[in-house]
């Protein structure tokens, strides 16, 4: 994998003006470098700016500020008012709604980009065949998309995108319209195609497990701002904010009070939670932890409490225990069985510390969601 930069965003900003809500900065000063051959995800809740960014890279949207480079070529620049047309950017793109042309059979769909480029007929046939083979669509050349399932239609879109051998592939929630089982298979197929063709992937999704399973690095954004860019493992294990902690994976948040060098659950100074206090902790803090990073034992070390509720999930058991006045969720495999009411000890093995909730941020999110 070379270290060349495939996609670069510099100070990219996009503002929309709406009649009811005034001006909204949908994308606020994005700076980003994606390496060649990398699989990079844009992840965030709806309205975070991920789709707008992708559409700016594709050339469907102008920029309010900043510039975009693709493989070293300046393709969008607001200062120079330079916008290379989408068809001249040499991209592959797959859309959520498949966007397979229903009036063409599969061969014609996949051959379309080559025909437009006036590739020789013989070569078209060979390259389409190859692309179809890679997407496990061989033998379906003469079938029309309407006769195929969602998964197969998305494979056509993939074949159409790879047939021109683009350097950069944009995937706009390509798996959201598929059922869960198929989603998993297609994930592997996309990864496999990337391995063979070596293109760079930009993958937009709101599904965190999908992003984590696919990406080399990912960008989490929220309300038009980049929050954190890192590898999936680092993002999951070392989130830089409460937002990322909450957005990636299931977590439990415990409000705590720090008193006399000890940590107590909020509003209950009876029993301390045996946690080391990090530097710079205020008197009130939030301790966050993953549901499976709380050790639940009969009489091991940790905070003594009892099981309030047990819920069986299909692949694990979920327990609710009280810590002070708060209910804390814990997940264990089915093998470790506790009964409601049973005494137990919980030990928070890998806590993250955050300052208390920010009300202003919540209000802004609500405002943006209305639009």
């Amino acid at each position: 994998m070379s270290e060349n930069i495939a996609v670069a965003l510099r100070h990219v900003t996009k503002r929309f003006t709406t009649r009811t809500m005034g001006t909204i900065t949908a994308v606020d000063d994005f700076n980003l470098e994606i390496k060649e051959g990398e699989c990079f995800s844009f992840l965030g809740p709806s309205g975070c700016g991920k789709t707008t960014t992708l559409r700016m890279i594709a050339g469907f949207e102008d920029l309010s500020e900043g510039e975009i480079e693709l493989c070293g070529r300046l393709v969008s620049s607001s200062a120079k008012n330079l916008y290379i047309l989408p068809e001249e950017r040499d991209l592959g793109m797959v859309f959520q709604a498949f966007a397979v042309w229903p009036h063409m059979n599969i061969f014609d769909n996949v051959a379309f980009p080559l025909k437009i480029r006036k590739v020789a007929r013989k070569e078209i046939a060979a390259r389409v065949k190859d692309a179809l083979k890679h997407c496990s669509l061989d033998g379906l050349e003469n079938v029309y998309p309407g006769e195929l399932s969602g998964g197969q239609q998305q494979r056509i879109a993939l074949a159409r995108a790879i047939v021109t051998n683009p350097k950069v592939m944009l995937l706009d929630e390509p798996l959201s319209n598929l059922d869960p089982k198929l989603r998993e298979t297609m994930r592997f197929e996309i990864k496999e195609l990337q391995r063979q063709f070596g293109f760079t992937i930009i993958f937009v999704t709101h599904d965190q497990s999908e992003a984590m399973a696919l990406s080399d690095r990912m960008m989490v954004c929220d309300m038009g701002k980049i929050v954190q860019i890192d590898t999936p493992e680092n993002l999951y294990n070392h989130p830089n904010s409460r937002f990322v902690h909450n957005f990636l994976g299931e977590s439990t948040f415990i409000n705590v009070e720090v008193k006399d060098g000890q940590v107590f659950p909020e509003g209950d100074a009876g029993q301390p939670i045996g946690l080391a206090i990090p530097e710079g902790a205020g008197p009130k803090m939030v301790v966050a932890t993953r549901l499976n990073a709380i050790l639940l034992t009969k009489d091991g070390p940790g905070f003594r409490t009892r099981i309030e509720k047990r819920i069986f999930l299909t692949d694990k058991t979920e327990y609710l225990v009280t810590v002070g006045k708060q209910l804390v969720k814990i997940q264990t495999p089915h093998r470790d069985v506790f009964v409601p009411g049973e005494e137990c000890a919980v030990e928070i093995a890998a806590p993250s510390w955050y300052p208390p909730e920010d009300a202003a941020a919540e209000a802004e999110r609500a405002r943006r969601n209305i639009i």
Partner: protein, 585 residues
């Protein structure tokens, strides 16, 4: 994993079972409300639809109880009739071609370009829907008929021409006027297809390397092709059966189409049975032509409809017209104005002129024509008749439509397919033909019932003609009302009849109201069937305008037409208001 395979596999039979409730089977032992409604639907459709159709076929091929083709062949090979058939086909094809091109142009302009004033242009498109084409024909006739038309005269005097430069009383004129009323069919179909289309279908073509113009030709146009053909065929069928325009523009120059020929034959014979028989034979010809068009329609529509509904809601990228923007806007809105607004204005102006032919100046204007119109008992009768007919047909059809729709969608008896066909069929039968069928059935030959020359025979014809409107409207609405709503009320303790009354009827009430107006409005301006059915005391508004004009009282005809225009505009405003209220609730 095996369980996943199981979960996905196959159709859910319980889901199928769901759609067909057993309720009717459970209560089927005694004939309930359902049974009565089913029986009534069949009987009524038999009377208003099957009998007239049967009578046409019988009278065309049987004479005094014996099979007899001589009339049929003699009528068909009459040169005059052959020519009429030729005209019909030429006009219909030309109207289809030009109307489609015009509709497409406007659809593209409004659906995909950044042309301003879209709302204004859209509003103009509704006008041809509201007014009958024969009003337009009247107006254009006033402007361009031979040496008498206002513009022709002005052109001749200004440029010292010997011959009138434009002759509207020609095949070309007929094509032009029909075109200006029928092109919105294609426009509406295509514009809505463009709006529903997933923009990523076009965007993905851009990414694939296609230029904007290539996208239009290779992606957009092929995808809206089904909408284009649907609209074009609608034009074709409407034009084939059209009576008003060719009758107004063609009679003076002896240009006939099949519908006007049928009218002429019956008119010439003074309503004698012989004339009607000849008309019957010709109607078979007309039905044959329309049937061919319908077959084509069925074939075309079933072959290529694609699923192009959008996924994410996103606005399509509009094509920037740049320099061409304002010239195109000017061209588009001027054309629309000329086609749509000028005829209406013309009718009002002429209505004010003391005598036809006087120049349109203030000095010559007066309200005397209106006074004459409101003074004439015949004219007032025609307004009353039309109101009575439209309201009665509207109300009766509204209830019949709901009943039949309920039987077809909910009770689902055996033979519901037949029921559906019977209720929709009359819509495809040209109005002229339907009128003949009604005459044949209800002028004494069946069970001695003679309604000829009464208002009732027109009512029967209207009911047959418009029943499908309210049926379709109620049917669409019923399909929206999930059967679980009715089932929930059963579980809440309501009986079948109570559920109907408390749940289903209130829910489809909006559809019933709009079904009423769908019938009331076209019935108010109806001409094609009424002109064959009216008697001395049962003239309708359309017939009266037509007759006044025919008698040379052109300013009075215009005055009455302008009254009709006002009535139509008021009614439309009322409909819009009602529908707006409903959405707000």
């Amino acid at each position: 994993m095996a369980f996943l395979r199981r979960r996905r596999g196959g159709v859910d039979p319980s889901a199928q079972a769901r759609s067909v409730s057993d309720l009717s089977a459970l209560e089927g032992r005694h004939i309930g409300v359902d049974g009565i409604m089913t029986g009534l639907s069949f009987i009524l459709l038999f009377i208003i639809v099957v009998i007239p159709i049967f009578m046409i076929i019988y009278n065309a091929f049987f004479y005094e109880g014996r099979f007899d083709l001589s009339l049929f062949t003699s009528v068909i090979f009459e040169e005059e009739n052959l020519k009429a058939m030729g005209n019909t086909i030429i006009i219909a094809l030309a109207v289809t071609v030009f109307g489609t091109i015009m509709g497409l142009f406007y659809a593209w302009l409004l659906g995909r370009s950044d042309i301003p004033a879209k709302g204004f242009m859209r509003a103009l498109f509704t006008i041809p829907y509201m007014f009958p084409p024969f009003f337009g024909a009247m107006a254009w006739d006033l402007l361009f008929s031979g040496r008498a038309g206002y513009i022709n005269r002005w052109l001749m005097s200004t440029f010292h021409l010997r011959q009138p430069p434009v002759n509207i009383n020609s095949i070309g004129g007929i094509i032009f006027v029909e075109c200006s009323y029928y092109f919105p069919f294609v426009f509406m179909q295509v514009v809505s297809a463009l709006e529903r289309m997933d923009p990523t279908l076009e965007e993905s073509a851009r990414i694939a390397g296609a230029r904007q113009s290539q996208v239009i030709w290779k992606i957009t146009l092929p995808l809206v092709k089904p909408a284009i053909s649907a609209g074009a065929l609608l034009i074709l069928i409407s034009s084939l059966a059209h009576f008003g325009v060719p009758s107004i523009l063609g009679f003076s120059k002896n240009i006939y189409t099949l519908p006007t020929m049928i009218y002429a034959l019956i008119n010439r014979s003074g309503g004698s049975f012989e004339g009607i028989r000849q008309g019957t034979a010709l109607s078979i010809l007309l039905v044959a032509v329309v049937a061919i068009a319908l077959v084509i329609q069925k074939y075309v529509l079933s072959s290529g409809s694609y699923d192009i509904i959008k996924g994410k809601s996103m606005r399509p990228t509009l094509i920037k017209l740049r320099g061409a923007k304002y010239p195109l806007l000017l061209l588009a809105s001027l054309t629309l104005l000329v086609i749509v607004v000028v005829p209406l204005v013309m009718i009002f102006l002429v209505a004010l002129v003391k005598a036809y032919g006087l120049p349109l100046t203030w000095a010559n204007f007066s309200f005397s024509n209106y006074v004459k119109v409101f003074d004439s008992p015949a004219t007032m009768d025609s307004i009353k008749n039309s109101l009575f007919l439209s309201i009665t047909a509207g109300i009766v059809c509204m209830f019949l439509g709901v009943m039949i729709a309920y039987v077809i969608n909910r009770i689902r008896p055996k033979g519901r397919g037949l029921l559906e066909i019977l209720s929709i069929l009359p819509y495809s039968i040209p109005g002229t033909v339907l009128a003949i069928g009604v005459i044949l059935s209800w002028s004494g030959s069946l069970a001695g019932i003679n309604l000829y020359n009464t208002i009732w025979i027109i009512l029967v014809a209207y009911m047959a003609r418009y029943l499908s409107f309210s049926m379709k409207s109620a049917s669409a609405s019923l399909q929206q009302v999930n059967s679980s709503l009715e089932e929930a009320s059963r579980a809440c303790g309501a009986t079948h009849t109570e559920s109907l009354k408390d749940i289903t009827l209130p829910l489809i009430k909006p559809a019933m109201v709009s079904g009423f107006f769908l019938i009331f409005l076209p019935a108010m301006r109806e001409l094609t069937t009424s002109v064959l059915l009216y008697g001395p005391y049962s003239r309708t508004l359309g017939v009266q305008i037509f007759a006044l004009r025919d008698a040379g009282m052109i300013p009075q005809a215009s005055a009455l037409a302008s009254v009709a225009i006002v009535i139509i505009i008021v009614c439309n405003a009322v409909v819009t208001e009602i529908t707006k209220d409903r959405k707000g609730a």
